[in-house]
Each structure stands twice: as structure tokens, then as C-alpha cells.
Symmetry: C2
Subunit: 322 residues, 2 copies
């Protein structure tokens, strides 16, 4: 059996990038970070629990990727550049094969974003993965939830709903042919955090959030904190390629209230449409205009003709579900 | 049943202290921290699991205190001043009474150190508490594990072993009278992080670590990373008041390899003894000189006459135990 210290040394210790912001990494009581002068530090924590956020026995490489991806997605939603992260890991047993694949999936994504693992904790217990991620953002350029203004366009990146479709397939909520599952599953298992888009939108977008619990619910957080309402053009929502082939009603439900999309939802003034599209192009990420911020509170769903739709679009809530 | 958002709002959201380093707190994708110019950020994560780090059904107020205390202890061991923390919490159910007591225990300690809760996550799952804590320390003043030098004195703060004695009582490893348990138990349930001592030792101590897994094992980390050895004066180790009344052999074992002490072990040059004592006095924390750093690798245990002792002093390791 590997000891806790062997474990950390073998799978999670790597040399620090010299000249970067990490002054001291894994192996002391604390890591030391030297933030770039004048920058603010954006900080987010996510905890993923087996059986709740991923299936028991989930493939460890994509699990490692996903755990870091959902945290990087929070940085993206602030327009912050990833710098470093800590990993706290509770494991039923220290299995070398599992750990090798898990750390490989996680650290490959970390390398793509030059985001260094600087510390953490390992312990024995039910599988639980807690990451805290750090990014840099210039003061007053963070994309906050409370900055939306009436008249703003609402945009989302990429496509939504395929992760929810894959989940529905696994759960046998509906019949999903293997070809469709093969298209949809990567959206559930290996989301792409929209870090480059978040950076490109600094100074252009007003409010932003990442879509983790379903668009309608997450947009609701922007509305609440900004003290505004919104109209969503439901039939303009870009469905993922697998969901796009499904019936109209399912498409509406899963694009509106899917979950696990990890796309950005953001608002920007209408006069900045060209800049938004240029930012999307610069970051090689598609964006779609899907609605409008209103002065009147509440979320109004409308169809392609602008007629109101009465759809239930509850967000995923970890304690409200049975 | 409380929803995740109700939960966060009710028990874990408080106004930000104006003019402090926290620019944005709970409620956005990320918190924003504006570090003081020129300061490095010390960062540590600890994960506490029910049945592993605390008993099932542990009293929530002291549990809340302890979870933050063990993290503040890591800052203390770096000589860092607490600034903020994130809390990720996996709970089997959202029980208002439990949450009220837990958050009260945690936030009372946070207030003592002006350490603000700036974000985190809540989810349903086996009870697991993961805190990441942030502190400030001037560059080159952090008390690192790799800075001990041959000839340094080895010091520890406070007393050790009473937390281990309480655990032995709970586990019926030995007969512990109720009066003794009443003295020892608070050391296990409500440790005091030595934050003020850590700050007072900046520029005076060389290496430091906090004693969480037992003195011998934790001192071993300093020795390994500093490339040195040490001689420990075992009979000079200050036992906690309950342990001090027990037999000699038990006292030696529990002071050397107890666990859950959360005292500081640090080294300093012999010519700085007066300064060490002044720092202890300034921070109202007792310190005891208990050994010496040697050039020769390895840890040598000696008795009051300087004669070698052959004691097993394995550190607590989460994966090495059965």
C-alpha cells in the first residue's frame, strides 16, 4: 500500500515553472504564490462527490480532467487567467493505476492552461475531489454576476444540452442510440472550460456566469444579483449536435435546463456586438445571441415568433432534489 | 429541506469588511482577493472526513472550530497572517441546527483572526469538509520546512500529547478517568492555532512545521527537506496537563508520536534564544527547547542523561494504517 507521502510524491509533485508566480509548491505547510503586481486573485472551490457528480467507477482520466475543468470554467466566467490550483482528495484506497490515470487527465489539462498544482491534501475516505483554483484578473475587469444592465444582449458560448442528453441515455430516461451517445458523452465527461473566451471578453462583456446547473437557473443568478429580468429566445438556443437531432420539446428542455454544459452565459451592450464576435473569433469559440436583459424582473421564455412559452426550467440544486 | 442556495445564504454569507483585501465574496463564480502590495500569498488545503478525522456524530460547533483551526495552524507554521478562506462542504442532509452550530464554531474562530469566508461549495454526500486558507507573508520571511541548519535549536510551542490521550480514552486503549478526559478532550476537539507565535517568529526562526501527525514524524519532514538530522531530548518534551500525570513510557510515546497537537515545531540559531523567548512572550505562547539539529542525517532520541532511546515513533499516515 502506498503511503500518503509516497502518493503525493509520485503522482502530484512536479517541478515548478521558474519565473512564474509560484514561489513554493507541494511539500511545505503552505504553498507560496507571488501575485503579479496590481492583479486581483480570482478564487473558486468545487467539490465533486462520487454518485452525485459522477458515476461510481467513472473512468479516472476523464474524471481528473473534468474536476479541474469545472474549476477552470469558474475562472473563465470571471475573465481570469488560470495560475494555480490545490487538490484535496479523499480516496477509498490508493490504487496506482487509478491515480496515474486520474493525475494524467488532470495535469494534462493543467498544462494546457499553465495552471500549476501547488498543494493539497490526501486522505482515506469516500471518493471526494475538492479543487480550489486561482486566477489573475486586472481590477475592474472581472466579469461579475451583478453587472448586467437592461438592454444588454444575452449570449452563450458553444452549444448546450448534449451533456444532459448523455445523462438521460445513461439513466434510461429515453432511448439513445449508441451513435448519439458517442457524440454526446464527451460533453458530459470531458467539458472544455472557455478560458480563452473569458479572457477575450474582458472589457467587452458586462456580466458572466458559467452554465453548470442549466442555462435558465444560472442566468437567474445574473438576473437576481443585477436586479434585472430577461427574455430568452428559446428556439435560438444552440443545441449540441446530438440533441439537435431530437424532438423539439426535448431540445427546449435540455438546452434550457440541462446541466454540466460548462459554457459561458454573458451579457454585453448591443453596440458591442461586433467586438463580442471578434472576441469569439480570436478565442476560436462560437457564440450565439439568445436573449435580452429587461428592466422588469423575471425570466420570460419566448418562441421563434416571440410568443411566450410556459416551460418549467428549474435549475439543478444539490439539496432540493430527492 | 433547505436548498443549496438558501443554505449558503443563511449560514455562510456575511458582509465583507470594507477596506480589507476581499474585493468580492460569496455569490459569484469566483471570489476576488486584492493581495497587499509586495506580499506573498500562503495557501493551504485540508480535507476532514467523518470517521477518519473526527467521530461520526461529532459535536458541530467544535467541529466547525477544528476544521478551520487545522488550516490556520498551517498558516501559523509559515509565519503567515490569515486573510480569507473557502469552505467546500459535503453533507448527508441540510439540518438547520447542525449548520447553525457548525458555522458558528467556524466563524467565531475566523473572526478572532479577521479571516473572511469568501466562497466555496455545498453538496449532498458523505460528510466531508474541505477548507482552503489564504494568508499573507512578506517575501523571504516565510518559515519553510527546508531552512533548518546544523546547530539550530529545536523548539516546540505549548504542550503535546493530550489530544492523543483523549483519543486513547475514547477508544478504550487505556482507562482514563472522567476528570482526565475533561482536561485532555478540548485539546482534541478545539485546538488553538499558534498564529500569533508564527507571526512573532518571522525573521527569528529558520524552519517551522505544525505538529499534526506527531512530533517525531513532522520534525522528520523538516529534517528531510533541510537535508539534516536531529537529536531530540525526549524527557524535555512538554506533556499536556492530563498526560503529565501518566506513566513515563506513555508520556514519551504520546508526546513523540501523538497527533492532533497543532503546536508549532521550529528551529532557530542558538544565539537567538532570547529573541525566541521574547517572541513567545509577545504572543502569550509558551515555548520549550527540545532538541538540536545535527549535520548527521536521522533522528536520535535521547533521555534526560543524553543516553540513546530506542523508541518507535512512526507518524500517522492516512494510507499506511490498516
Amino acid at each position: 500500500m502506498l503511503s500518503e507521502f509516497d502518493l503525493i510524491a509520485r503522482y502530484f509533485t512536479r517541478p515548478i515553472r521558474q519565473g512564474g508566480p509560484v514561489a513554493l509548491s507541494v511539500g511545505d505547510d503552505c504553498a507560496l504564490l507571488a501575485p503579479a503586481p496590481g492583479m486581483q486573485l480570482a478564487i473558486s472551490s468545487d467539490m465533486l462527490v462520487e454518485g452525485r457528480h459522477f458515476f461510481p467507477g467513472a473512468e479516472p482520466r476523464s474524471l481528473g480532467h473534468k474536476c479541474l475543468a469545472v474549476n477552470l470554467s469558474d475562472l473563465a466566467a470571471m475573465g481570469a487567467r488560470p495560475v494555480a490550483f490545490t487538490l484535496a482528495l479523499s480516496l477509498p484506497a490508493a490504487e496506482p493505476d487509478w491515480l496515474a490515470a486520474f493525475s494524467d487527465g488532470m495535469l494534462s489539462l493543467a498544462d494546457q492552461h499553465q495552471c500549476e498544482l501547488i498543494g493539497g491534501d490526501t486522505t482515506k475516505g469516500p471518493l471526494n475531489i475538492c479543487i480550489t483554483v486561482f486566477g489573475e484578473v486586472p481590477p475592474d475587469q472581472a466579469l461579475r454576476r451583478d453587472a448586467a444592465q437592461p438592454g444588454d444582449d444575452i449570449w452563450i458560448s458553444g452549444t448546450v444540452g448534449d451533456a444532459r442528453l448523455a445523462l438521460a441515455g445513461y439513466r434510461n430516461e429515453l432511448a439513445l442510440p449508441p451513435e448519439a451517445l458517442a457524440v454526446a458523452a464527451p460533453r458530459m465527461h470531458a467539458p472544455t472550460p472557455r478560458v480563452e473566451l473569458g479572457l477575450a471578453l474582458r472589457g467587452i462583456a458586462r456580466a458572466a456566469i458559467d452554465i453548470s446547473d442549466g442555462l435558465a437557473g444560472d442566468l437567474g443568478h445574473i438576473l437576481k444579483r443585477s436586479g434585472v429580468g430577461a427574455t430568452l429566445f428559446v428556439d435560438d438556443l444552440p443545441a449540441g449536435p446530438a440533441l439537435a437531432r431530437r424532438e423539439h420539446d426535448l431540445r427546449r428542455r435540455f438546452t434550457l435546463a440541462g446541466g454540466d454544459d460548462y459554457e459561458l452565459c454573458f451579457t454585453a451592450a448591443p453596440e458591442r456586438r461586433d467586438e463580442v464576435l471578434a472576441a469569439a473569433s480570436r478565442s476560436a469559440t462560437s457564440v450565439t445571441r439568445v436573449g435580452r436583459i429587461d428592466k422588469v424582473p423575471g425570466l420570460r421564455l419566448v418562441d421563434a415568433e416571440g410568443a411566450p412559452l410556459a416551460l418549467q426550467a428549474a435549475s439543478f440544486d444539490h439539496f432540493a432534489s430527492p
